[in-house]
Amino acid sequence: MGVTVLQQFPMTENRTGPQTIEFLTKRIVALGAVQTGQFLVDCETYMSVPQLGVQKTVHVLHNSEQPASVFAVLESGSKVVPLIADGLFDLLMLKMTSIYTSKKQTKIESKGPRFEIGDFCVKLGSVTMSQNFKGVLVEVEYRPCVVPGSAWDLMREFLQGFIGSVVPNQAPQYLQNRMNDIYQPMDTIQQYLEHFGQYRKTTGVI
């Protein structure tokens, strides 16, 4: 598990979602990348019923990179509790419908092709919320390095070389708070959750 950075790729008027993905695919293949299948990250959000008092939110996420795990993030007030469980957690959530109800229309996912180039792993995801296209989210993982602080400059160079000046010079806020920690799969999930939150708030495409 290496350091991962997520970057939204802004949509332009003259290109549709699939066209943008194809455009980026051409670029990464020209750099020498090899496609290694597809990927999928999805997120479903559950709300606690009002009778329980303070409302709590549970986000349940899956990442095809960790296929045997289910990631859950519980938000209650200002507290955030992350949890990694195995596949049975999905069934458990089904049993808890009397406490937590799913907001079906906010089910959001990012999926698309996955590429490998050297030690980098690049994923071009098109984000859809209940079948509506919302935007393009690029994930870049540098697998040999586990500390965001030492990998950021190198990854920024890669990202800027690949998707251009959209990439800021500063690391994403989420990583900036953890520059010297060891990167965990949960960190990728938290970043996805942040971006999914932004996509959910906006009405059109980003």
């Binding site: 598990m1 050297g118 030690d119 697998r143 040999p144 500390v147 602080g149 030492s150 190198l154 890669f158």
Partner: protein, 292 residues
């Protein structure tokens, strides 16, 4: 020996031509013989095949007649008694015995080749000495060093760099194997022979370490390669401690493997790899392609 070889080939050819005769006999009349005169055609074919058998048989006879019968029975020494073995599980011993003979033969052959190569190229790490006059003298060796001496040297590295942890194990007799963890960047296994570095394997921080598996990341495979170059560069039989110390200092410079850009091109990446080369003297980072 050559005659025996030709005789064997002749027998092989004979066998195959006889095989063809039986093949043809076995399949009988076939479609390619056509409709008209198929019997005569078939007979002609058989005749042809039999003539080749005849020719081949003559070849075999000729080859065999030029062979000399071996003088007297083969001397199998004590292995002859293997044929008198009565227990079932030991009757198969002869096969394995022959195999082991073959292996010994091969080892002998390879070592002869290696010896020839070594005497031509004087590798500085090996102790082959083709010069006879020097044989008598005692050579200074970095192989035969007491474990305490090695331990005391290694413990100095542990204290020298506070972001590098070093632990020693001795899985192979008295030779030390070092497990080095360099910050959160990489890990390495360094095998010693006395005070001489024998092998280095560099892997990622999250990977498992052992002496034989390579890293799954390209960058660490490259770094392993460069570490081998460094190990050979710093090797000096006269001052083994200095050699190990210089190697460790060089190795410590990899702490900024991901964070430092190349000194020449100023970039982090070149063909998707960070600067993996460290200059031996200045310890400055360079890409493989940019190194001076």
């Amino acid at each position: 020996m050559e005659q025996l070889q030709t005789a064997l080939t002749a027998i092989k050819v004979l066998r195959s031509s006889v095989g063809q005769v039986f093949d043809s006999l076995g399949s009988g009349l076939r479609a390619e013989h056509g409709d008209e005169n198929k019997e005569t055609k078939y007979l002609l074919e058989l005749q042809e095949l039999l003539t080749t058998v005849n020719v081949n048989l003559r070849d075999v006879e000729q080859a065999v007649s030029s062979l000399n019968p071996p003088p007297g029975p083969f001397n199998l020494a004590s292995t002859a008694y293997l044929s008198q073995e009565t227990t079932q599980e030991r009757q198969a011993l002869y096969g394995t015995l022959v195999n082991s003979y073959k292996w010994t033969d091969k080892v002998h052959e390879y070592s002869n080749v290696a010896q020839a190569l070594l005497s031509q190229n004087s590798l500085k790490r090996s102790y082959t000495n083709s010069n006879r006059t020097k044989r008598g003298r005692i050579q200074t060796s970095s192989h035969n060093v007491s474990p305490q001496q090695v331990d005391s040297l290694i413990s100095t590295f542990d204290r020298q760099f506070n972001d590098m942890t070093v632990s020693v194990s001795r899985p192979f007799a008295s030779n030390a194997v070092l497990h080095v963890t360099l910050g959160h960047v990489l890990k390495a296994v360094i095998a010693f022979k006395g005070l001489m570095i024998e092998r280095v394997v560099v892997t990622g921080y999250g990977e498992t370490m052992d002496l034989w598996t390579e890293s799954r990341h390209k960058v660490f495979r490259k770094v392993t390669e460069n570490a081998h170059a460094a190990m050979l560069h710093f090797y000096s039989p006269a001052l083994p401690e200095l050699a190990v110390r210089s190697f460790m200092t060089w190795f410590h410079s990899l702490i900024n493997l991901f964070s430092e850009p190349c000194k020449r091109c100023g970039l982090h990446l070149h063909s998707a790899l960070p600067p993996t080369w460290r200059d031996f003297r200045t310890l400055e980072p360079y890409h493989q392609e940019c190194k001076p």
